[in-house]
């Protein structure tokens, strides 16, 4: 195998792992935001948010 193969594989492996890491972190954040929005929509809020709402 040529040296180009080892260089290309190194950058490809790094790119795949980094892109998967970015995608996983981003999708995890979106899923949590969606869950929080659903809970909020069903009227379930954090106690601190409820206290603020009551004060207003």
């Amino acid at each position: 195998m040529s040296h180009t193969f080892y260089i290309a594989m190194s950058y490809a492996v790094s790119a795949i792992v980094i892109l998967c890491l970015i995608a996983w972190t981003w999708l995890d954040g979106r899923a949590r935001q969606k869950e929080l929005a659903e809970l909020e929509a069903s009227g379930i809020r954090r106690r601190s948010a409820q206290a603020k709402g009551d004060a207003a």
């Binding site: 080892y6 790094s14 981003w26 929080l36 379930i44």
Partner: protein, 256 residues
Amino acid sequence: MTDSLAISKFSDLANPTRFLALAARILPWMAVITAILFAIGLYLSFTTEGDYQQGATVRIMYVHVPAAWLSMMCYTVMAVSAIGTLVWRHPLADVSHKAAAPLGAAFTLIALATGSLWGRPMWGTWWVWDARLTSVFVLFLMYLGLIALNRAMDDPSRAARVSAVLILVGFVNIPIIKFSVDWWNTLHQPASVIRMGGPTIDQEFLWPLLIMAIAFTMLFFTLHVMAMRNEIWRRRVAAQRRMAARLAGHVTGSEG
């Protein structure tokens, strides 16, 4: 006065709501800076001359070395967070080390894979069980163990305390990795950048390496802040679901 101001600012950050507000402000900037650094670093990595002995294979260094640095730096960040959990019970400390573990595992995997791909043409072998390679492999297993431990325990604060103790015990591996090339005979070369007497590496290779190292470091901190934010949201979802279950129980109880 200045000290109390600094402590006050630090303790302000301990509030998860303030951390979320700060994360929302700084994350876009961190992402842009990371992208610019990667663009410059990758451009330099592929436009500099090859090494007189290794040829173009030296370009593997620009991803291997930053990933290897980060594998150790991430564990150091986790160890500092573990002290925060055990000593100060800092609200964000356990969030920090739990969020950092998958990132550390990913960067260690990159270091191991690219090291193996560099070793094959340079050493004539994919892998040897020498001190440097074995200690980094142990670090990878430690990251996986910590991820599994955090996921196996339902109570996040209990999981955080157990993880914190294991992280601090496992920190002994970091100086072993760093000095393994000096203490034992290994195939791996000794330090050529961070060493007494300055770097021995040629300027031509040093600049792309430093820029790629800063880019990888910025990527780590960007992803770490994102992962910490996700973990805070995850805990809020769990707390709100518990509250909803309690409310449902009250309603059922009063009806009965």
